[in-house]
Every structure is written in C-alpha cells, then in structure tokens.
Subunit: 214 residues, 2 copies
C-alpha cells in the first residue's frame, strides 16, 4: 500500500486533483500547527473547505493522510508491520534491529527517513509533530506487534518501547547521519547480533522501572 | 578550563584580538573543509597568516582551538574527564549515563549541545567534522578513562565505544531533541538505572563482535 495512492475509484473528474491537493496542503498546515495528535480530519477538511467524508474517501485513515502530506512512500505502520511479521519465536530484539535497519536502508525509504530526521532536529514544530507520530504510529505498532500491551501497564509499555526508540534512533543517527565508522561499517547482521539483546531486554527483560510505575 | 580563555600572558598589545579572531576564522573554515582530523594547526596558521607557534600560544591544543572556534563553553575532553572521574569500582555503565546526562543538561552546555546536534544532522560537512571530533575527542576520552584500550584490540575498542555512542546519542535525541514523553519525563537516575546495563555490556560485557575482528 503506498501513501501516494490516488483514490481507488476510477472515473474521477478533472477537479479531483485540485481538491486532493487542497486537502494535503491543509493537512500539512494543520499537522505542523497542532501536532499529529491534535490535528483532526474534521479540522483539516474544514480548512480545505470540503466534507470530512471526502478526506476519508481520498486518503483513508489519518495516518495515511499524514503519510501522503509528508510525501512518505509508504504508510509507516503498514510497512513496519510487514517488516516485523511473522515474529520469530526467539530473538525478538535481533529481529527488530534487523527489520528496522533493512527498512531504513531500503532505497525507497532512506532519503525520506533522513529528511524527517533533519526536520525533527531543526524545527521545534516538526519535532512535536514527529514525536507524536513516532509515539502513536511507530512505537504503537511495535508494541502491538510484539504483544507488549498484554504484559504490563500502559506506563510500563510506553517506557519500555521508548527505551527501544532511544537505542534504535541512536543507531540510525550514528550509522546513517553521523556515519561513525565502526557503526556505519558493520553489517546489519552484526549490529542485530550486538544490539539485539539490548532491545530484547528493553522490550521484555528485567529492567529497573521507575518506582512511580508501581 | 574554558575554551574561551584568552592567552594566559598579560601585556598583550591591542593587535592581539585581531590576530586571535583571524586564527579562529581560519580554524572554522579549515575544520569545515578538511574535517577535524584533516585540519592541522600548521595549515590553520598559514591561512591566518601567522606562525604556528602563535596559534599554540593563543589556544594550546588542537582540541582547545576547535572548542574556541565552535564557541564551546568548555573543552569537551576535559569536561568529560572531570565528570567521569573518579570512576566507581562497580556500575561503570550507570555512572557513564548519569555523568553524560548531567553534563548535557547543565545550563552551560545544553544549548551548545543542541546546536552541534542540529548542525551535524543538517550539514554533511558539519557531520564529517563532528563525527571525527566525537570519535577522537569524546569516544577517545571515554575509552581512555574507562581503561578500554588495555583490554581489547583497537578495532574492538572502537566498536564497543561506538555502540555506547549509539545508545547515548539516541538517549540525547529522544530526551532533549524529540522529547519522547517517557524518556523526557524520567529522571536522570531512572535512566541511569535502566540504560546503564546496556552501556556496561557494550563497554566490557560479552557481546558478539564482528568476526573480522578476530
């Protein structure tokens, strides 16, 4: 499923592309000003001067609209779910590192990923938007696929999955952005083996949780 | 020791500040164009039209010149060594996480750190310069203080310390730049307890090293 997908139905009138572009423009403005969580389909539709049903018709879910507005070549939660499944019986951490690095380094996604990274680091507004998107779409998908929500409280799951994010985004930063030689020069398989146990411990291991989670 | 230190000797003539500014300007240009490793005091002096001895007189080491040119409020290896020593007998990983977060979040350094982070992520030239500086000055200092060089080959030490960097910079990214709630909302002590064992394992634990290190 690609985020650039045009409406599935055929027989569009020539006015459709103007409408869909107006929706994307309104979405970009609204996501930037209100964050990913705060921007609603209803408000985006109002800003574009169309009915909310038309936004759903053109783009489907809020995530798919976000992906289209940000010109992502895939819908992140779908690409991530596809990369992560089937889950292995053992070695969840290694699997996650391997899948994420493979996804990030695919030709289709590499530039997009770097672009999002750059905007998050340089613009406070983009940081808020991407933080909310990462928390809801990316980390939520990992928690769901890995079955974390069944194991601990919501606060514990958020803490665990955010620790995973700290390691995975740091790996992306040192490998793809900074290019630290020892990390950039290692193979995906080597990094999966070295870093996998860290991710596994954060996901399901015996880590010291903040006392306020009790 | 501050990187902004003026020459220690008194009785400077009024022409000195023009000379020191010309040296800093030459240093900025040269570090950007040749990277941290490739820029030499000799070449910087030539570009500023002064004798290399004068550069040493004004700024001391290459690292101190870099710190002054980048307007860092401290000399990184010195601040880091001060933060890390004395090393504890146990809990090296926790100690490193605690020290690094405390240093990054000090009023003196927070904005500087974020500024360097932003430039590394947005400019390829800055990324090369900062990668080399991080590898030589920051990671080299950690390896030295932690006594890593005595324990394994240079390749192994570089790999271990770069894994530490991937976790620590990812922690900085998610806490200080993105502000992921579960990481930004945790105390330094909580993060030291949760992330410390990761850093400890990377530094001295039984990790799977790439086969080419054998």
């Amino acid at each position: 499923v690609t985020a650039r997908a045009k409406p599935a139905r055929s027989g569009r009138r020539s006015g459709d592309s103007g409408t869909s572009e107006a929706i994307l423009e309104a979405a970009r403005t609204r996501f930037a000003s209100h964050g990913y969580q705060g921007a609603t389909i209803r408000a985006i539709a109002a800003q574009a001067g169309v009915d909310p049903a038309l936004v759903h018709h053109f783009y489907g879910t809020k995530e798919a609209l976000f992906a289209a507005a940000m010109r992502l070549p895939v819908i992140p939660s779908e690409a991530l779910t596809a990369a992560l499944t089937p889950l292995p019986a053992v070695g969840l951490g290694e699997h996650l590192v391997r899948s994420a690095l493979t996804l990030w380094e695919s030709n289709e996604l590499k530039e997009t990923f770097l672009g999002l990274f750059r905007s998050a680091v340089t613009s406070d507004q983009a940081a808020v938007m991407l933080r909310e998107f990462i928390a809801e779409s990316i980390l939520g998908t990992i928690a769901l696929v890995a079955g974390l929500r069944d194991r601990g409280s919501a606060a514990e799951t958020d803490y665990r999955i955010s620790l995973v994010a700290s390691q995975m985004l740091g790996l992306a930063l040192t490998r793809l952005v900074l290019g630290l030689p020892a990390i950039a020069g290692a193979s995906i398989e080597e990094l999966a083996t070295s870093v996998g146990p860290t991710v596994e411990r954060y996901l399901t291991g015996d880590i010291a949780l903040p006392e306020r989670f009790d």
